[in-house]
């Protein structure tokens, strides 16, 4: 499908530019070739991640936020990113890149819609967070167990349904009862939510999409670092 682009003839800057375009267009095979080509030239895994995949997904995330791209296109991009990450993840683990923070994430009880949650997971990983993905249909107990086990900085909860989003309040109330609400930053997201809802249930923030989730998480980590220091 790809027209005559010969990667070996491109400069590294041009390859990174191409990676951004190919992520935007959701071309997984091409991304794999470009990641391998870059690594073959001696680029560090975190450089490929940062200047290629994350830079590309930032454009995708911004255009999603601005209503230029929609979920199907973002899923395609995420699939391409995933293909690239599959190569980079083991290499990144070897090099022991420093984590920005850790996050427990999952859809709430009764809700099995995980497309948005999966996008957030990928974007957070790309941004340098360690993410513990609990999958779908999580009880308050499941979230809390994971938060304690991993000493997580952030809890991310997602719901697509108006009928399941009230469960987020149950989780937050349980955190309060256990006296651990202040230990964790609670971010909530999902199509039917808004800021007023997040405020009403006393979450720390509503994130309208994956890009906002990453920005918000980074911001809260700076505050936490500040508090801890």
């Amino acid at each position: 499908m790809s027209e005559e682009i010969i990667l070996s003839e491109l400069s590294q800057e041009e390859i990174y530019e191409l990676m951004k375009e190919d992520l935007y267009d959701g071309l997984a095979d091409e991304i794999v070739e470009e990641v391998n080509e870059s690594l073959g030239r001696g680029q560090q895994p975190y450089e490929v991640l940062t200047y290629g995949l994350v830079a590309g997904m930032e454009i995708v995330g911004n255009d999603f936020r601005d209503g230029i791209l929609f979920v199907p296109e973002v899923l395609m991009a995420a699939k391409a990113m995933k293909a690239g990450m599959a190569i980079l993840r083991p290499l990144l683990a070897e090099t022991g890149a420093e984590k920005i923070g850790s996050m427990v994430i999952g859809t709430v009880k009764g809700d099995i819609h995980d497309i948005g949650k999966n996008l957030v997971t990928m974007m957070m990983e790309g941004a340098g967070f360690e993410v513990f993905d609990l999958g779908i249909n999580n009880s308050a107990e499941a979230y809390i167990e994971a938060i304690e086990k991993h000493d997580a900085d952030i809890l991310g909860m997602s719901a697509l349904l108006t009928t399941t989003m009230p469960y987020m309040k149950v989780v937050i109330d349980t955190l309060k009862e256990k006296g651990i609400r202040k230990n964790v930053v609670v971010l909530v997201g999902g199509a039917p939510l808004n800021e007023a809802f997040a405020e009403a249930i006393e979450a720390d923030a509503y994130c309208r999409d994956a890009a906002v989730a990453v920005e918000t998480a980074k911001k809260f980590m700076q505050i936490r670092r500040g508090v801890k220091a």
């Binding site: 375009e21 935007y24 267009d25 199907p72 296109e73 497309i115």
Partner: protein, 362 residues
């Protein structure tokens, strides 16, 4: 002249483009009804008689004008062979596709709603409610999901959306290339199948005694898909469904939740009698697009306001909706999407009182 009409007259007047005595109110309360029944949700949602009894009981308690009957969003998917799980405390959910790939479309069969579970139970509920109170209240027997959302459940939501992007995608990068036309053709075949399934069920709902039927197509809305995808893969199917039903004097309510503002003019163009819209829409834009052409059902926030808000929040949201959307008729006030199980009765009463107090037409 408050309350000079029956619920049925009031609702029919609005749907015909006229001005009733006051704004009618609907409840989208199948989960509240399950909660109130005390029965386990999985049992309740598979029992037509229990669902009917619960709906009638709720109607006697609240006195709303319009009932929406359904058991969630997965009935047609289940009838077509998708894996559906009945869970406690929530509506049944579809978690496994009916077909593994778009090459398996021929394996699907249009289910006979009079024979295949759970359509049989939903129709039973409609039949009982219609017999008992159909001469007083207006009954919408929901024909479950529309062609687009049903197709997504049959193929698996993520797979469907990925295929959609591939089929529709114009690339922006230097590699160029466009959508995959072969793939688009296959998607259209699946959508044709889904249209047949949902249309057949819609007729059955009317035969069971519903005054009107309804489809949900939230997945095709701008919270998920681009208006371009909506136009290519949803709009013409919804329009054909409306036209087919209209030929037999059947009216359709067309539900897309989230912020559907960008496609509301297109939704109006389908000819649907009712647009069921969520609190995220821009009410002024919606009023401009629907005035004299369609009735809006909604758009009070079911979770943030009706389930979690105070009665005063309900009143404020309802008054705002009445002022903007109810001007000159064209509004059935209610939640724009399903009410959570534990929605306080007090808030539901306040919703209806607000329509009685502030929704009166001079």
């Amino acid at each position: 002249m408050t309350q000079s009409m029956t619920s049925l007259e009031r609702t029919r007047t609005v749907l015909a483009g006229g001005i009733p005595d006051r704004v009618p109110v609907d409840l989208h309360n199948f989960m509240m009804v399950a909660e109130a029944s005390g029965a386990p949700f999985p049992e309740f949602f598979q029992d037509g008689e229990a669902m009917a009894e619960g709906q009638i009981k709720a109607w006697r308690e609240f006195g709303h004008d319009v009932l929406i009957l359904e058991n969630g969003t997965a009935a047609l998917a289940e009838a077509c062979g998708a894996q559906v799980e009945y869970m406690e405390g929530s509506a049944p959910v579809c978690h496994g596709p009916a077909i593994k790939s778009l090459d398996d479309i021929d394996k699907l069969e249009v289910p006979d709603p009079y024979k295949v579970f759970p359509l049989t139970e939903n129709l039973r509920a409609t039949r009982i409610v219609a017999q008992e109170i159909g001469d007083k209240a207006f009954i919408i027997g929901r024909a479950d999901q529309g062609p687009f959302s049903l197709a997504a459940m049959l193929l698996g939501m993520e797979e469907f959306l990925l295929r959609l992007a591939q089929a529709d995608g114009g690339r922006s990068g230097r590699r160029g290339g466009g959508g995959d036309a072969e793939l688009a053709k296959k998607l259209h075949r699946l959508l044709e199948f889904s249209l047949a399934v949902t249309t057949r069920y819609a007729y059955a709902q009317i035969q069971a005694g519903a005054h009107m039927t309804s489809i949900g197509e939230s997945l095709s809305g701008p919270d998920v898909c681009s208006p371009k995808s909506y136009k290519t893969f949803e709009w013409s199917y919804a329009k054909r469904m409306v036209e087919n039903l209209k030929a037999d004097n059947i009216q359709l309510a067309y539900h897309i939740c989230g912020d559907a503002t960008a496609i509301v003019p297109d939704m109006v163009e389908t000819g649907a009698t009712i647009l069921e819209l969520d609190y995220k829409v821009d009410m002024l834009a919606v009023k401009a697009a629907t005035r004299g052409r369609a009735t809006v059902l909604g758009p009070v926030d079911p979770s943030g306001v009706l389930a979690l808000g105070a009665p005063s929040d309900v009143e404020n949201a309802a008054r705002e909706a009445i002022e903007i959307l109810g001007e000159g008729g064209g509004l059935i006030l209610g939640p724009g999407c399903a009410l959570p199980p534990k929605t306080p009765a007090e808030n539901v009463h306040r919703l209806i009182e607000t329509a009685r107090k502030y929704g009166v037409y001079a």
